[in-house]
């Protein structure tokens, strides 16, 4: 560009978008027909195709509306297939098709990108995996938030009833650090062949770090992670789901000690949980259907209750830099669908 654009025109367009109620609080890129056409040109899908529907509010999202929102989020047109795949992946989640976006929990999508597309589009695959700082990671996640707000019409304080929400709700898009992971890519756990460009997604209630650079013993690392997963604050149902976004160092330590992903999942399923006394102390020992409640009954005080029922409830991803042994426990809202969405053919 030889000449800088007129800032006052840009400011007026940004303010126009605010005035329409379209913004998540940050400035939007005003979407013009040629820009949105460039997005639509990256997919063979029809602009009219409905890619998600919320029956209870009578709203849906088409490829066309997704393109407008992705453009407004600051995506480049070539990111659009990733946005579509991320949205398709989210629509596999029962919570995202139901009342999840309206929930008092205010859950955040966690998007995981695998395969060559990570580098083709310039996703951050290394340090600072949870952001910020990288346009593809930041804007793909933001596009989902704008779709929920604008296409589904779920706005804060109205149909969206998050009590506190969570930090970075529309900003979690990890590109897996496949190069430094000792394990198959996450998309393989979602049924895609190794080497495929694919996107997975689920909903989170929060993230919590486990800083363990104190030991070379894999079991000690796993015990430290299990302690974080097992805290009572997050337990509201009989079962829970908590994934781990391993840093490369922890993943490599575990792999060197012979742990494949299923071994880590089995270990965590076996060791994560609380005694009946712990649960009773927190008012969460009783069960009415799948829901916990405070029960004065002390008879199960000595029983250890496991909380992770299956490997799908313990998704494992590898992301971040190899510069410190810091991993993240990610608390899943509902249950991961267990499927990764391959990227569509881009003409």
């Amino acid at each position: 560009m030889t000449e800088a654009p007129d800032p006052e025109v840009a400011q007026a367009a940004i303010e126009y978008c605010y005035a329409q109620g379209w913004s998540d609080g940050l400035p939007l890129v005003p979407a013009s027909p040629p820009l949105v056409e460039a997005f639509l040109a990256t997919t063979t899908r029809s602009p009219d195709e409905v890619i998600g529907e919320l029956e209870q509010v009578g709203r849906n999202c088409t490829v066309y509306l997704a393109a407008i929102n992705a453009a407004m989020a600051g995506c480049r047109p070539e990111y659009f297939p990733v946005v579509l795949a991320a949205f398709d992946a989210l629509m596999r989640e029962r919570a995202a098709r139901g009342g999840g976006w309206q929930s008092t929990s205010g859950p955040a999508p966690m998007i995981v990108v695998n395969g060559p597309v990570r580098h083709e589009l310039g996703f951050n695959t290394a340090g600072g995996a949870f952001g910020p700082g990288f346009r593809p990671n930041a804007t793909v996640a933001r596009a989902i938030g704008l779709i929920v707000r604008n296409a589904f019409g779920i706005r804060p304080h109205v149909l969206e009833q998050a009590t506190q929400g969570l930090p970075g709700r529309w900003s979690i898009c990890l590109a897996e650090n496949e190069e430094e992971s000792p394990w198959p890519p996450f998309a393989a756990d979602g049924g895609q062949p190794a080497g495929a460009s694919a996107v997975s997604a689920t909903l989170l209630r929060t993230c919590e770090f486990v800083d363990n650079r104190h030991t070379g013993d894999p079991e000690q690392v796993l015990w430290d992670i299990a302690d974080t997963i097992s805290r009572t604050g997050s337990l509201i149902f009989r079962d829970t789901s908590a994934g781990v976004v391993f840093c490369p160092e922890h993943a490599q330590l575990l792999a060197a000690a012979g742990y494949a992903k299923p071994d880590v999942q089995a270990w965590l399923m076996e060791h994560c949980g609380r005694t009946g006394a712990d649960l009773r102390r927190a008012g969460k020992n009783g069960l009415r259907g799948p829901a916990r409640f405070a029960d004065p009954d002390e008879s199960a005080d000595g029983t250890f209750t496991r909380i992770l029922p299956s490997p799908t409830h313990v998704p494992l991803v590898v992301a971040g830099a190899r510069n410190a042994a810091i991993s993240m426990v990610v608390r899943i809202f509902g249950e991961w669908s267990g499927t990764a969405i391959p990227l569509g053919v881009t003409p």
């Binding site: 849906n60 009342g99 008092t104 604008n150 019409g153």
Partner: protein, 179 residues
């Protein structure tokens, strides 16, 4: 001629307010001899709350009996066969408790659906969720739709407190259900 800035909502020219208002069911003069439908949304304390409302309607207002059903997916609209069954088998309906982001809106949406099917309905929501309940009513073409409220929170109430709450909301429920 500059380009337009595109609308990301897809609602231009088709706002909910332009939808025809759904009909409201005809109210009976009293609940004497009425069968009261209780649609329980599985939220904590919803079942004992509605059970007590049903019991009090029998005891104090002469209702003949109750037909209790559970809506498993509290965020979604009541399934069509459930709407048919309760409309055929009941004279009035009480639904709730709207005590979360999605289920409060959903309780109101169900109330409006039952009204349109000909069954007078009273939805009960926690008073922390009136904004989302009102927004849903507007979406369904029924702005200003009336429902009963009970103070938040409901989930942590003891059995005795639930009964007391049911008694407190009873007059509002009766007023919503009768002419």
């Amino acid at each position: 001629m500059p380009y337009p800035i595109l609308d990301p909502t897809g609602t231009t020219g088709s706002t909910a307010a332009q939808r025809p208002a759904p009909p409201r069911a005809r109210r009976p003069a009293s609940l004497r001899g009425a069968t009261v439908g209780l649609l329980v949304n599985t939220k904590q304390n919803a079942a004992p709350f509605l059970d007590e409302v049903g019991r009090l309607l029998e005891e104090r207002y002469g209702a003949a009996g109750v037909l209790a059903r559970t809506k498993v997916n509290f965020a979604a609209p009541a399934p069509e066969d459930l709407v048919k069954e309760m409309t055929a088998g009941c004279d009035v309906l009480v639904t709730g408790i709207g005590d979360c982001g999605s289920c409060s809106a959903s309780a109101v949406a169900d109330g409006i659906t039952f009204e349109a099917a000909g069954l007078p309905a009273a939805a009960i929501c926690s008073d922390a969720f009136t904004v989302t309940a009102d927004a849903m009513a507007e979406l369904r073409g029924a702005p200003g739709y009336r429902y009963a409220t009970t103070p938040h929170p409901v989930a942590i109430l003891t059995a005795d407190q639930v009964r007391e709450r049911a008694a407190r909301v009873l007059d509002d429920v009766v007023a919503l259900l009768t002419a």
